[in-house]
Amino acid sequence: MADVEMRKQDEKKEEEKKEENKTPPPPPTPLAEIKANVALIDKAVSTLEPRFTHRVLRSLTALRKRTDVTVLRNAVEDIYPKESATKKSLLSWLPGSSDSAASMDIDPKPTTLEPVPEVEIYLRLLTTYILLSSSEGYAKALQLAKETGEKISQLNRRSMDPIAAKVWYAVDRAYELGGDLADARPLLLSAQRTASLRHDDESQAALINCLLRNYIHYSLFDQADKLVSKTTFPTSASNGQFARYHYYLGRIKVVQLNYSEAHRNLQQAIRRAPQPRTAPGFYQAVHKFFIVVELLMGDIPDRSLFRHPVLEKALIAYFDIVKAVRTGSLSQFQSTLSKHTSTFTLDKTYTLILRLRQNVIKTGIRRLSLSYSRISLRDICHKLHLDSEEDAEYIVGKAIRDGVIEGRIVHENGWMECAGQKGGYGPEVSDIYGRRIAFCLDLHNQSVKAMRYPLNAHRKELAAAEGAREREKELAKEIQEGELDDEDLGGDF
């Protein structure tokens, strides 16, 4: 029963949201939105319901693009009481104290209450992003972000965790834009330790991702792998963080030649990523690696992938490579590779694509084995543009051993004989079937786990149960008394 009600509520909410999105009734001014957000944060803290904070943070990206220094200044002026130390410190971070801004709030609302510290951190976060929007502000933003991080760990409030996660991301971003990402490591590592000790899942997820990004940026895959093995990624992390985490895992795994794992991780990253239109950059980056991994596994990605409006342009180079691998032509592969070298180097996929060379050869051999029942090694060498017949013999031998083709080499006659294809029935089929069933069952179990129940709903039921018990007791009492009465009466008779 509770489920159904909950779902209705959710639907309603979603509908509301959709309506909001569809017909934007003159969008609230950034100032009004900040104030509304502050109210929401306040509500979140007082009701211990992190949902409201999450809602505030969801609008962060959109909001920070529309906000500027003046808006923020006014917001700070309005939110905080006149003589507040926090206000002063917040204002000191905002650049360029223009007089017009100061004169605008001649009669601020008489707010006397100091808002919760979460609000301060939220405003600091906004300030950091504003500072980061121009290159002059990087150093200052870094300083502010670091100070905010320290403040968070001093305050140690659980209601602050969602905001803290965003702050840590901002710290990392500030370091990166400042150009010295490597220096961020000690700070982030210690913050990660603190977060995991405090069971601050959201910050922990954000920090692990920041660290992984940091390591992978410098191609320190060894360290990144160690970090992954030493930490556990919190299961309650948000989808966005999970998508990032899976993306980084995939990148580590593909370097280590663990292609099937990498494929799984990247697929997860794609599934968990936000809509392609909202985050095109991430979507494209994941797909670049995804395609390369598919190729390395010997699969050919779907053609439809390259027609996707978001991906079409970004993946042109990869499309060419796929074509070359599909035809199994080494010369086409080499020419495509040299044509797009700069793109691949920029995407950091160049070394991975170099590994594809052997796959091109394998595809070529497989095509030959399908079309010929017997072919001389000289012809193979000629068709695949190999250097020598001797090489061809070794390569075919390796392909047979690796199970790429079925067949054998007859050395005396210098040809390869191909055996027919085996039927598609065997233990492998049940294996694949088992894997799919397992996936579906897992999906079902996960979705059951992911259902949300209204907070304190069971209290009502408990109260009702208590009431019922109470009534029952009374009833029993009455009956007892009634019986007594009867007896009494009987006695009288």
């Binding site: 410098y218 191609s219 320190l220 895959f221 060894d222 792998d225 370097v255 280590q256 030649l257 663990n258 070298t341 180097t345 160049y350 070394t351 170099l354 590994r355 060379r357 052997q358 050869i361 190999l386 250097d387 020598s388 001797e390 090489d391 013999e393 070794y394 390569i395 075919v396 031998g397 390796k398 392909a399 047979i400 051993r401 054998r408 080499i409 007859v410 050395h411 005396e412 065997g426 233990p427 049940s430 088992g434 069933i437 069952l441 079902h444 179990n445």
Partner: protein, 266 residues
């Protein structure tokens, strides 16, 4: 290190005995162990924080010589230790120190070593973390040598690997050639078992790069091949044929698991 004249003297002596022809390995070994103690005392073996660049450079030189000496003495675990100690100098102090001319030979040696032990995953991880662009890797002969070897090995162009064994860019690379040849011989043998039914002895010898027949026969015995000396052929026993067995245990346990899960849903 300037405060320790003793170390300085040992260092110059080490360089002298290392560069002399032929290299005096025994003396290098004793000098190195003395020097390492000295480095630990000076806090330079595993440097931390800001230190004098010249001191660091000397420490790096000592470790590099140590790495080369251990390769020459065929002491691979010791090479590994030197290499991991050198990592600090190559990555963390790369902005402070002038680049070392021995850095890439040592990195290349490390790559070859990973290759000979078939640690391909680590090979690629190390390769990715090299501070070089793709072009630079192709141009740097110390690195491109192992990279090419790996590519040929993966492709199956074993004859190219065989031909490249004499083209090692540095003397030390040849120490790994023997074990590398062992690796590819085993690879070829396992390919051959799958790909051929039988093979003439003479051709088998060329395929496996054996110079004479007795080596081949010994190798065939190791792998358990049937050698027919009168016909001069080797026949490979096909294994794994007709071994289609139904994995009962697995199927039963899978079915039980499905039943259990279904029950939970209902």
């Amino acid at each position: 290190m300037s405060s320790q004249p003793n170390l300085r003297a040992l260092y110059t002596e080490l360089i002298r005995s290392f560069t002399s022809q032929p290299c005096d390995l025994k003396k290098c070994g004793t000098l190195l162990s003395q020097l390492k103690i000295g480095l630990i005392e000076a806090g330079l073996l595993l440097p931390q924080g800001e230190l004098n660049p010249t001191d660091l450079q000397v420490a790096r030189d000592i470790l590099e010589i140590g790495a080369f000496c251990s390769i020459r003495a065929r002491d691979v675990p010791s090479f590994d230790r030197y290499f991991s100690q050198l990592q600090t100098f190559y990555t963390d102090y790369s902005s402070v120190l002038p680049p070392s001319k021995r850095e890439y030979p040592i990195r290349g040696l490390h790559l070859i070593r990973l290759l000979t032990q078939n640690r391909i995953a680590e090979f690629h991880t190390t390769l990715e973390s090299l501070p070089l662009s793709a072009d630079a890797i192709a141009k740097n002969q110390f690195i491109s040598h192992p990279v090419n070897l790996e590519r040929w090995l993966m492709e199956g162009s074993y004859s190219k690997v065989w031909n490249a064994r004499e083209e090692a860019p540095a003397e030390e690379y040849k120490f790994f050639v023997d074990s590398l040849m062992g690796t590819i011989r085993n690879e070829i043998a396992s390919c051959g078992e799958a790909a051929y039914e039988r093979l003439p002895l003479k051709d088998a010898a060329t395929l496996l790069f054996f110079p004479n027949r007795s080596d081949l026969l010994r190798f065939a015995e190791e792998r358990g091949w049937q050698v027919n000396l009168t016909e001069g052929t080797i026949s490979f026993t096909k294994k794994g044929e007709e071994k289609m067995e139904i994995p009962k245990q697995k199927l039963i346990s899978a079915s039980l698991a499905y039943a259990r899960e279904l029950e939970q849903i209902i």
